[in-house]
Structures are given as structure tokens and as C-alpha cells.
Assembly symmetry: D3
Homo-oligomer: 283 residues x 6
Amino acid sequence: MTWKRTATFLCADSSPENGDVVLMGVPFDGTSCFRPGSRFGPHSIRIWSDVLESFSPELDMDLEEIRLGDLGDLEVPVAGWDEVALRIRESMAPLLAEGKIPVVLGGEHLISLAAVGACLDRYPNLCVLHVDAHLDLRDEYESDRHTHATVMRRVMDLLGSDRVFQWGVRSGTREEWKMARSVGTIIDTPSEIRDRLGGRPLYLSLDLDVLDPSILPETGAPEPGGLFFRELLNFLHALRGLPIVGADVVEYSPAGPGMGGPSGAVAAKVVREVILLCEAGRT
Amino acid sequence: MTWKRTATFLCADSSPENGDVVLMGVPFDGTSCFRPGSRFGPHSIRIWSDVLESFSPELDMDLEEIRLGDLGDLEVPVAGWDEVALRIRESMAPLLAEGKIPVVLGGEHLISLAAVGACLDRYPNLCVLHVDAHLDLRDEYESDRHTHATVMRRVMDLLGSDRVFQWGVRSGTREEWKMARSVGTIIDTPSEIRDRLGGRPLYLSLDLDVLDPSILPETGAPEPGGLFFRELLNFLHALRGLPIVGADVVEYSPAGPGMGGPSGAVAAKVVREVILLCEAGRT
Amino acid sequence: MTWKRTATFLCADSSPENGDVVLMGVPFDGTSCFRPGSRFGPHSIRIWSDVLESFSPELDMDLEEIRLGDLGDLEVPVAGWDEVALRIRESMAPLLAEGKIPVVLGGEHLISLAAVGACLDRYPNLCVLHVDAHLDLRDEYESDRHTHATVMRRVMDLLGSDRVFQWGVRSGTREEWKMARSVGTIIDTPSEIRDRLGGRPLYLSLDLDVLDPSILPETGAPEPGGLFFRELLNFLHALRGLPIVGADVVEYSPAGPGMGGPSGAVAAKVVREVILLCEAGRT
Amino acid sequence: MTWKRTATFLCADSSPENGDVVLMGVPFDGTSCFRPGSRFGPHSIRIWSDVLESFSPELDMDLEEIRLGDLGDLEVPVAGWDEVALRIRESMAPLLAEGKIPVVLGGEHLISLAAVGACLDRYPNLCVLHVDAHLDLRDEYESDRHTHATVMRRVMDLLGSDRVFQWGVRSGTREEWKMARSVGTIIDTPSEIRDRLGGRPLYLSLDLDVLDPSILPETGAPEPGGLFFRELLNFLHALRGLPIVGADVVEYSPAGPGMGGPSGAVAAKVVREVILLCEAGRT
Amino acid sequence: MTWKRTATFLCADSSPENGDVVLMGVPFDGTSCFRPGSRFGPHSIRIWSDVLESFSPELDMDLEEIRLGDLGDLEVPVAGWDEVALRIRESMAPLLAEGKIPVVLGGEHLISLAAVGACLDRYPNLCVLHVDAHLDLRDEYESDRHTHATVMRRVMDLLGSDRVFQWGVRSGTREEWKMARSVGTIIDTPSEIRDRLGGRPLYLSLDLDVLDPSILPETGAPEPGGLFFRELLNFLHALRGLPIVGADVVEYSPAGPGMGGPSGAVAAKVVREVILLCEAGRT
Amino acid sequence: MTWKRTATFLCADSSPENGDVVLMGVPFDGTSCFRPGSRFGPHSIRIWSDVLESFSPELDMDLEEIRLGDLGDLEVPVAGWDEVALRIRESMAPLLAEGKIPVVLGGEHLISLAAVGACLDRYPNLCVLHVDAHLDLRDEYESDRHTHATVMRRVMDLLGSDRVFQWGVRSGTREEWKMARSVGTIIDTPSEIRDRLGGRPLYLSLDLDVLDPSILPETGAPEPGGLFFRELLNFLHALRGLPIVGADVVEYSPAGPGMGGPSGAVAAKVVREVILLCEAGRT
């Protein structure tokens, strides 16, 4: 694997071998059909992280008190999902083997498919919590089975539909809604997740477009009518203690290289809380 | 009438004779006193509509299952309200005569005056529901009786004040508030509209600045403290079944030609729901 | 003191001797550590004020019915806090001596320290209400005791910690939270302020970043998860009648000279309500 | 006349009675057919003027050594040219009567018509030098005879076509080019102007879109292939000594209120040089 | 083929069967490795074309006097070059068979490969004139042989290297420069092209990044030190009379859907002149 | 010294001990009086460097063939020049002692003073070549002797005025121009520098605002009428072979953290050529 040096997230250690939780950027947006740019996301998240404190008052935890590594960005081609998927899995496998928790910074949502695959290899009874505005349950999109719009359908192919939970969704085709309801993926409350998880290891896939576009305008497919920041935060905090073994935060999509606006701070604060949740679930 | 070819709204048919609901853009902003630009609105709404699904989960309706036409943009002069008003009325009259429901994409709010006039010719007992941040009840503005700030006063001149209902208002002069309260235009709930309407045909005039400027920053007169997107959506959904015979969505105001930002998706989603409401009221 | 001519806020009188409430801009952002630009704030607030009505429907008061002056902007150096502080105090002293209420337009938060100092000279039993996303209670920041991040600690040095009340805070280091809680500065409701104030004169220091970054993206240290506009407004309106003797509205930070976006309207509306509150407390 | 207080241009005196050259803003853009916004121009020019020195090395003159006044902005309606024209002429007449040289900050190009009219009243043998990308010689535009696209045709109606000189033009209809060539308005060099002027008083009307859009992107009708800044400056400097009795600088068009970008510095530097040329022609 | 309705370029006829020169948009940017967004190019070019006159004073030709069609945008997948190439070729073949001249609006540069292929089928002795900042002669880029960075190498594979002429290039790897010089593709003057062409049919592939980034900042790989607009125009005008049988204008890359800035006018003016050149070569 | 990890410039080695030429960012803009933001410059330069090839065709040199290190960004306080100066000198001294050539990425122009000081310690007969739009020869600015506007006056205090050469200047006060002319700092051609240098070691201080604001709009004090990119490049290339022992490239000023636009590519290309010139002068 080749890694590109980047700024580090807040106070993260640039020596990843020191981390219990390890950040890695995947600047890939090759299937974004409306507005590309999430390739610039990992970089902008790190730059804007500097506006934040390392301390989370609600979780009463501090990034400076945990072991957090930051590997920089994985080098990936602009197009060609198979190669991208391979590199994601090969770079995550050794981290997982050592018991570290990888947190992937997207990039677009399709990368979750490879990341879930890597975690499934290590944790065969893995479940996935999918937080998103969109159902992402199409079987094909533009004749392609591997896109940001089909990613959860492919995840279901890997795990079975009963191990996928969806929260925050508000958009889909009539067929996707029908499927989600028949399969029963949509959950309403954190306690419902806790019940259905029953102690199994959890992968958290968080598409930032679950937030309202006013909160995060810089995203690939803005869907009005989304969550306020505090609604998302309250939901995440209610997950505290769940055994999260891997996570991604995807679809933050600046307008250009080095052109991310203030919603970078939004993405970064979500990442901070996700990191702390991963840590909280370790112990 | 001359029409300018444009992109179409989502999956609309470009042959308007096929439509039961028919979109038409009116790129006029000649009386915008603070920030012009709503002339660029119709175009940007159509471009951003592509980010949306055609299916509305709350209404359980799909644009692909109805007959929707899109006429493109009406050619109008930059200044000179009388001529603009004439063209709006003359282009709407044949649609109304055939029983079609026109949905006008603004442009600024003054265009509602002509659109209401056209509908009134066809439906003499028409009522108007005015959703807006501003009362728009001045009698004159800068010595002019026909401006975006006097439009509802002029509509009252046409219909009488008891057939105008206002919702969402939060700004006006002391005199406008006094008048609105004495006349009793301001209503609080959808059921109150339903009661007062009593089955008469309804024109819906929706000034997008009723939304908070965080939701829709691109507007001619941003007024902080507005509605969240879901508040507006819930209100609209509660109107389901009312006999809407014409509608407009106005005051989305991009910064320049081809320069509309993500709030275009906000405007487009409102338009999608308004179209579906019109359809729902037909049957 | 040298003043720079500026546009005036809404309908303010440009002859300050006519004002009971007097606006003054302080375009200083010399200690902004993340994103500078609040030096451009006073100017942009005045330009965007034109989008507003002078009438506040909730307070039922109108700027046109009070005596409001606008001095323009104080000339201050780019760096060198001591000189800036001196100029602020010397320009406020004569206003306070005449019983006028100064409302300072920032600029960054450190200017509140000098403004509080000037008010304290005139009102020795002054209390301070601090509305902010950040606790600002560090003792030092980058080895400096006078920065936007230490300003409330320095205010405590002046008044004692029991005369400082904090509302809206959501970010700080572990140490700052510990201190705030042990000293008891954080208050929850307007009525609690009223009780603790007990009729003493109040200085209101309002850092606009208390609002969510979606509402006010143009600020020096955006902290996601903040207040909605109506939450802030409701809080302010509940202060009605308190004897506010001075106030500041700070940390609105446009991207450049003459480059403030629509959140200028947000800042301006907050300023309008603060002015009216000052007036309401006079009588 | 009502004037709106504004910031002042660089070191201008805010007491206009002290000025030999007097600035006045006219924030009108009512006939801008493509991209409005020049109403925000005067304000942004003044703000960006602060980046400049008052000294012009090529002219070896300093604004601080002349008597320069700045009246602020004329209050004008959003639409209705007749009223706007009246206010421009009535506000310029007394200045001209006292022998002052007015320099008008646009606003759109149509305002030149009223300004030329005012100067013609005072200087019956006035000639006009028109610097622009566009010929502006249409007889009508959208059935209107008074628009930014017909302004020089109307000026010709006032003065006769032999007293209008055009420089820098690169765009027009086939008919406009034919007319310009048959009448012989287009001149190539400053010395040609000097010859044809023959000592008569000159009005300089400078549409900033004569500059390439890379130099001044913020304009109402950007026309690629324009002048570099130094080409315009060299041309202006070659006019030194001509008896300029009035001037305007128009069509700088920021994206919104308080949203002018760096091309404000371009407009401001042109204004500085025009002011100095006016002064140089006085003596 | 499926076409998406769009606005039309300036005064183009929306019935393509009426055109001798026919525009078609190809909104594909699937291999853009730095900054994507040229998928939004065709749409923004059309919108900004409205700022232009239809008359070109240098060519003394008018778009209104020729037969120009505009097909709208070809529907293409986000990724998957083979399918995109197929659709381009299949949509161009019938146009070419009827003797029409297609002008393709990109999109990224790789689309030229398919367009050249289509023209080659019809004109076996076709030559290609490549105007660009970059040599685009890599054999592979990121292990891929079909990307915007290899496109001219692939064109050479089709035609042979002696039928490719390059002008305006200023960037490449050491290897690309070596190759270009050994093969002799780089030409200096229009007359050299005329000589080497010797009457054969010409395809013009124009990557807008040949212009300086100040002239066209919205592009996928801005390379400082490029051409001024008038340099490019002079070059194009010197091609007048050459038998251009097909052309593309590519790599104009707005920041988002409906978010193209003023450099849209630059792209549109280049397109206008290219259309007129095509027409001039027909007769 | 504390260094902040950053992305690396193009293909630079992140192990600085491997470099003959060594980049170091100094994100300080504490005295920028008009538009701050150059603190965000080093980061944005590195991000945009990725759009460039490592090969310079004019110099026929390739960054991949030299030993280039990149230290990341020096941690500096927001205000307090003395401490900033100390850190710059202490971090440069060991590099210079090993014979390495430091290239400093600004940040504002005042940092050149400390960098020149560090080089002077190592090379007592150092000369300085100052490329800038502004003379920067004030003795004081706002009562401060250490600002971006006085930096070359202070450099003269260090070296004597006969060892400072200025090129590209076009703005200053009457007094600064008088001084520059009496001292004879302004030079016209590269050969003049070569003559006056006479083999002594050279420090190159390059304020990017020497370029026209159309080329580099993102700068602290845009001064219209500047150099085209190729003019600057030609000048730099003519310096080839001069013994440059240290250099800085300053005053690239993005609008915010992670918000640099395309002029980042301009700054990066200048940096690439400066690095190669440093290398060329070594041998």
C-alpha cells in the first residue's frame, strides 16, 4: 500500500503503530453520479479539525487521553472499483489483525463495501449500522451493481439482510422503500439497535448526508429535510458502549482541492465523536 | 408567447400537451429591491431537481406516475411589469381553459399577482394561500404600487381580503401587522385553512423565504428565524386533498446565471411536493 | 479618537449626539487563531441591515421610534491589544458618562474585555452575561493571557467570578468545564439570570458563534451543534426589562473586505433586537 | 435629494463642499438584462479602495494633495428610469454650477445618459468619450429605448454623433458595427481624441467591462478578449491634461450586498486614476 | 441514444435536423484525476452563451445567418469508458453520414478519442489539431490506457503520429516532451498547419485549459502561464477556411451542478467562434 | 521547534534530512492590515501542487531528479512578532549550517525579515532580491516598525541599502518612491542583478502580489496592473545560475482554512521554479 502524507486529525499521532483507533483516508469518488468531490473530503476534514477542542463534554472523553493514529490517505485510482476495493481491504486487514479499530474517512459511500468486507473477514458475526439520508438499496444503478446507490444492497449480499440496520433514511425509490420495509432494516431508536445487535461486533457506516443540507451543504447528493446536528449527536451518544470494530464517515464533498468550506468543521466533529465511541466500545 | 427551451424538471415531459400539471418558468425579478437574481431561479431549480428521487415517501406518490409537463421559460422583459403581467396571463389562460394546473417557477413574488389574476378568470371563487416570511401588504413601496412588497395587498384588491390566508409570516412594518391582524388573514394550522376554504378552489403562492436563510440562503430578502424544511413539508402535506388549481414557488435567487448553489435542491424538493399536491387535489 | 465613516445601521442617525443607544464598530481580530476576518464584520452587518424592517413584531418596538446613533468604526491597529483596549475605553467613557448605552460591533471577542472595563468604571456593580459557544476561560492561550480564548477569564479577574453568567456554551477544554462548573457560571434560563442579577446593571456580551454554523457559517471558530435562530431570539426576548448598560455583538467574520454573505442578515437581526432590548431596559 | 451615508473612497473628505472633484454613487441596475448587481458597486468600490495608496506613481499625483469630496450614495428607486434620471440631474446640477467635477460611481451604464445630460446643460459644447466593450448603439432593446444597451445611441441623440468617441469596443450586432463605422465614432489612439476634441470640455464614460473578464469578472455582461489593466491605464494616462468636466465609472457588479470580490480593487484603482485625471484637467 | 433536454446555445435551433453544424453535449468526467466537474460544462456553456452577441466582428459572420442545431446532452454513465465511447460514436455517425459537422461540448478530454474515431470512419484521411496546455501523450496513467492524460497517444494509435498536430502545449513529463519533439507534433503557426494539412479534413480538439487559469479558472487541471484570450482567438481566426469536419471544446469544469462562474462566457465565446469556423470551412 | 505534519509539496521527501533544498511553511499573517489569510497559504500551495508535473520544460529540470525535503509547517503564535522571528531563525540555522537551501512558504511578508537574518548569519555578504508589487520601505506603519509594509526597510537596516535589489514594484507612497530612487534599489533586468551581485550569495524574497490580481486574486493586498505569469517566469529563468542560498514565496492568502482556490496552482508553480533555481545555483 502507498500512503500519501497529510495533515493529521487534531492531536492524532502520525505514527499509526501507536494507535488503538486508526484513521485512514480513502479519497475515492468514482461513482458519484450527481456532484463529485468527496475525494477532497479526508484532507478538508483534517484541516478543519483544528477548530475543535479534543474534549467532548457529552462523552466526557478527550482525544488526548486515548491512543489515536492517522495513516494519511491511501493512494487509489480515479476509476476502477475492483482495484480500490482491493487496496482498502489489504490496508485494513493488518490493522484489524492487531485488534485496532479502523475509522475510514471518505470519499464516497461505495468504499464502505470494501471496509465492511475487511471487518467481516475478522469478525464473522459482524452487523452493520447504516446512517444515511438514502436507502442505497438499488440492485443496479446505470447498469452497474457497484455504486454509491447500491452499496447497502451489496452489503446485504455479504451479511444477509437481517444484520443490516438503517437509521435516518428519508429518500429512495418506491422499490427501495418496499424492500426496506419488507426486510425490516429500518430502526427507530438506539435501544432497538442494542437489542437486535445482542453483543455482536458492529460496523458503523455514516453517510454525512443524513444531516440536513443546511448543516452540511458540501455533499454529493444533498437531500433537504435532514437531521439537525444535535439529533445526530444524541443518536451517536446513545450508542455508547456498543462494540464498534470499524467505522466510516463518508460523502463530505468539498468543491475542489483545498476548497472545503465551514461544513468541514461539521464533518470533523462527527469524526471526533465516532472515534471516541470506538474507544468507548473497546473497554 | 415565446418560450425559451430549458432543461426539464426531473422526469417531466417536454411536451406540455401531455401534462395535467404543467410547469412554466417566469425569470423576472424587476422589482427586487435588496438582492436581485430570482431571474436565475427557474433554471437552477430544474438543474438541481436531478438530485432528487421522483418518489415522495410521505405522500406515497411518484412523479413518474403522473402526467407532468414542462413548458420551459416564458420570455419576459427585464423591466416593465405591465408587459410581464400580460404575458403571464396570456400564457396561463389556455392551460387553465383545458383544466390543467399551472405551477409557476419564479422569479420574484410580484408574478403571483398576474398568476392569481389568470386563475381568478377561470375560477371566480378562488382563494389564495400565501406562505411567506413577509406580509407583503404595503400599499406602496418606493411610490410604486406593483412590487414584491405590495403583492398581497394587490391580490386582496382582486379577491377581497377574506379570501387571502397567510401562513409563516414573521416580518413586516407595524402598519402591515396591524392590517393583517384586523383583517384576520393570518392562519395557524392547515385545518383552519380547510375550514375557511370550504371546498373552493385554492391558489398556493409559496415564497421560499418562509424557510430559514440557513435552509435557503439564496433568496432576495433573507429573514432570519424562519421555518425548518420539515416544518414546511409537514404543513404542505397537511394540505393534501385541497383543490389546488394553480401554484407558484418564488424567490429562489441564485447569485448569477448558472450559479445556483445547493439550496437549489431545497427549492426543487418543494416544487416536487407542490406538484404532487396539485395532482392529489385533482382526483 | 479617530472614526472611519461607514454606512449606518438601518435607520440609525449618523449624528451620535442624538442617540440614547449608540453603535460603534471595532474592526479588530488580532488574536483570532483559526479564521480571521471579524475585522470586516461591522461593515457587513450595516450593509445587510437594509434587508430588515425596523419593526420587531415580538418586542412590538420599532427602531424608528427610538433615538439610535451610529458612530462608524473606531480606527484601531491590526495588532497590539494594549493600544486597542485603550482606544475602546477612551471612546466609550464619554458615552457612558452621558448615560448613553454603547453597543459595540465586533470584531473578535477580546474587545469585550475593554468594553466591560469601560462600563465597570461607570457602573461598579456591573454583571456580565456571556452568550457563546465557547467557555473562553483559559488562563493562557499560546502563552498569551489576552486572547479571544481567555477573555472571560480576564473579565472574571475584573469583576469576580460570581458576577459572570454564561449561557449557550457547548465547547471547552476539560479544565474550562471543571472551572465553569465549580464556579457556577453556567445558567440555564433567563429567569435564573434575573434572579442572580437582582437589579444590578448588566453588560451583554454576545458571541454570534453561539448560533449553529448553519445559521452563521461566517465566524472565526464554527462549533457545530449550536442554537437555532429562534432559540437565541426567545432567550433574548426573555431578558426584556433588564437594565442593560452596554453590549457587544462579536465574531461575525466575513471572508474578506466587502465579502460578507447572507449571514450578515443574521448578525444584523441580532443587533436590532439587542438595540431594542437596551432601549427597553432604559425606561 | 436624499443621500445614504457610506464609507468614503480612500482619503476623500466626507464634506463634499470641500471638494473640487466630488464622488457620488448611483446604485441603480434596473435595466441590466443578463446579470444584475451593479447596484452594489459603489459601496464595494469604496471598501476596496482602502487597499490602495493615495499616490499614483505614473501621474506623480496624490489624492491627499487634492480636494476630493464624497457625497455617499444617491437614493434611487429599483425601477423607473425617468425618476432615476431626474434625481441624477438634479443632484449634479448644483455641483456643476459651482465648477466642481462630479465623478459618478455606477450602477449600470444607463446612468451615463442622465449624467451627460446634466453636464451638457452646463457645457453646451460637451463631447463624450465612451470606453466600453460594447457599442451600446442599439435603438431599442426589448422594445425599450432607455437601457444599458442603447445608452450611447441616446447620448448621440443629445449631442449629435460627431461628438461621441468610442474606444475599446469589441462587441455589438452587425447593425451597431455598421453604424459605428459609418458615423466614425471609433477612435484608435488618445492623440486622435485630443485632435477631434480640440479643447472642448469632455465627459468620460468608462464601462469597466472594457477590461478582460479575468481582470474584472464581477460585471453585468462579461465579454472575453478585453483589455489588460495596464492597457487601460496607459490609455487613461495619455488623456492627461484634457479638460474632463464630468466622468462615470460603471458596471462593476458584485454578487450581492456586501459581497464584492477582489475585482473591487480593480474598479477602485480605475476610479483613483480618473479622479486624478479630472484634477489634472482642471489646472 | 437518449438525449437530455437542455437550454440551447444562443440562437441555436432546437431541431437538430435543421442544422449544418450540430452541437451535442457529453457530460462525462470519469477519468479527471485532479478536479472533476467538466460534467457540468455543457450546461453552463449554454447558459452563459446568452451574454454574447451572435455576431463575430472579426469573422464578420453571424450565428443567426447559419443553420445551427443543438441536440442537448447525451445520456452517459458516470464511469465506464467503453460504454461512453460507444454512445458518442453511435450518436455522431448519422450526423456525419448526412454531411453535418458535429461540435462536441465536453466533458473531459478523453471524449475526443471517440469523437475522432467517429470522424475517422467517415473521413479516412482525417488529421487532428490538438490545442491544449498538456501534451496528453502518456501511454498509461495510473495503469489505465484510456484517460484524459493519454488521449492524444491513443489518437496517434488510430491515425498515426504524423497526422496529429499540437499547439499551445506547455506541460508534460520529460518523456512526453521527448516523444512530441521526436515525432514532430508541435507546430508553431497556423500556416504550418495549413501546409501540413494539405487540404485533408481536419478535426479540431480544443482543451480550454490552453488558456491561462486567470482567463478560465474553472478547469480540471489549471496550468499557469497559458494563453490570453486574444492569442487563442487570433490563432483560431487564422484557421479560417480549413475544412473542419468535426470539433470539440472540452475541460470547462464548473464547481457544481448549476454553479459555473463567469468563465462560462469564455467557454461560450470560444464555442461561438469554433462553430463559425466550421461553417466557414464548409463552403 | 515544533513542526505540524502537512501534505508534502508534489514529490518532496517527507524526511528533510534527505533534502538539499528544504521547504518549510510559516503560517503567520499577524500584521496583514487589509486582508488576512496568508496563514492558510503553505497548506493550500501543497495541495494544489499535485496538479503540476514535476518537470519544468523551460529549465529542463525535474523535481524528481533532485533531493527535495519538506519539513511541514512551523508552529507559530497568531500574534507577537519577536517570538515568530526567533522560531524562524532557530529552525533555519541548522539547515543553513549543513549547507542546505531553505525555501520558506508564507505567510505574510514580514517573515522574510527573520529568514534574511538567518541567512545573513551564515552568509555575511548576502544580498537580497525583492520581487513585489509594493516597495515595503515605510519606516513605520500604524506606529509599528515590524510589519509587512516596512519589511524591506528593516532588511536594509540589516544589510545596508546597497545590497537590496527590487523588481516588479508598482505601488508605494510618494516618500517610498523617493527613497527607492535615491538609494537606487530598483533594477530593471536580470542582467543588472547579475552585475550588481558579482557572485555574492543571494536571498530571493518573492511576494506573489507582484503578479496581477487576475493571476493571483487570493492575496493580502491585491494591486491591479501587475505581471502576467509568463513575465514572472521569464524573469526567474533569467536568474538561472545565481547562487541562491535561501528564498521565500509569500502572501498567497486563501479565504479560509482549506479554502484556497485555483490560484493555489499559480503559487505552487512559482514555488516549483524557485526550488529548481535554488538547485541550479548549487552546482
